[in-house]
Amino acid sequence: MRTYFPYTIFPLGDTALTVDFGNCIDQDLSAHVMGIFKYLQSHPLNGFIECVPAYSSLTVFYNPGVLKKEIRNNETISEIAREKIEEILENKSCALTSQFRTVKVPVCYNDALAPDIRHITREKKISKQELISIHSTPEYRVYMLGFLPGFAYMGEIVEKIRMPRKPTPQRVHAGSVGIAGNQTGIYPINSPGGWHIIGRTPIRLYEKKDNDNFSTFFQPGDIVQFYSISRDEFENY
């Protein structure tokens, strides 16, 4: 496993900085990003609002009103934030997260719940059974949550069934399993979406118990195994 990951830091406007490890999907890199994320969650920096991990980057939001108190010389607030982040990246050993859970996710690939499945099988000249097998055989990694509450970005989809995003988003039902490029993901709620829908899971992707309790089914780093279920099993799940 690699231990050093080259990075660049770029501003995301005037109130956030993104640490970018390259525009790529890589499991070691993801573990590294999660390691830094966990470190920053347990050691919050003064003036920092929150940090958000993504596939190969981590974005830190800061409060310029708080950080301005640390201005020395002609530094900008953005530079102060950058120095603080660099210090952590260079000096702190943010342990790579290595323990990941495996979660099994039932998916019903029935045409009625998979509006785009026929289009893909025609386009890719494969049978529906092949498509199901290609989608449900590999183990996927949850790289990040984003877009919607509890939406997990998973990778990587086998080359053979990769599809670009739809040109215009369409209405997508909660639980829909979509694919786009080398990613797959599940819509937690009804939403417009641009991914191709190939099935639906009966699983609830988040729980809102009370006003301070919210949990998501997926966690970044999870190893996901899909398995095919029938329409009956879906309805009675």
């Binding site: 770029f10 790529c24 929150e50 900008t76």
Partner: protein, 333 residues
Amino acid sequence: MNLKIIKAGICDSIQDGGRHGFQYMGINPGGAIDMFSMRTVNLLAGNPEYAPVIEMSFPAASVFFDAPAIIAIGGADFSATLNGNPVPSFHPVLIGANSTLKFEQGKEGRWCYLAVNGNMGAEKWLGSYSTHTKIEAGGWRGRLLKKGDIIPFTNLTGVQSMADKKHEVLKWKAVPFYDDALPNEIYVLTGNEWDYISDDGKRIFGQEAFSVSRTSDRMGYTLDGPAISTATQCELISSVVDYGTIQLLPGGQMIVLMAGHQTTGGYPRIAHVIKAHRTKIAQLKEDKPLCFRITDIQTAEQLFLKQEHHLTILKNGCSMMWSDYLKKQCMST
């Protein structure tokens, strides 16, 4: 003490300073789209600046107060009336019981804020009263306000009640904040994918006028105007975006992400509206062309700090005026 929505607006919700710390789960911060106006009306009404308010677009709700209240409205100018009489924006207003607040005409701007002194009986979810309509949590039952909603607010202390259906506009007011930018000029910082745009695209971005399209909402403002062409094909892995991030869609159209934006996106981030100009772009209507001007981080930060300073002065001023007002009342009784 309640306020009752007697006519629904088209997109009215309870908002506050936003929900921070949960973007890693995909929960966006939300909050008022024009935070500057929201903070201003709260301070005028004698509230903490990030207290929950009612955010309205036009046509806006009509609101009935069954008890005396102190309110402030501001942001967009929707020609507000109390019991049929015009009331100005950005003043504290004392109102008597059984008063009706209406908004007659969408004159200027997109989002108007109503602050009511005291605590609004709204739902706090994950540390914020902002309405998250997708999860149906926070604010008022996690949804837009509807006709018939009755929102309680707490008792006022120290201010003499106005007579029924009367109101008094207090003399002091918040002055607008101006900077060196032209009224239609939006300052931006270039984004990480700026160089994905062609030279011609960069010229168009910096010189042409754009306008906010009709399909815009709290999530994002799509811009009408000439298309921005790219220099290179780019397929990006999704990463984090923010309020103010300008994404370039495949057809060359730009979308400015607003307060209700998603946490992540995969389109090129060509620029970011500076924080100090969020209030300005938030209030632009379809008929108001806008121009982008690329600035630097120093300028962006200076403008932000100036705006914060402006609000600090207002905060100190309001707390002084309110304590004076209450003292005078004590003496006269």
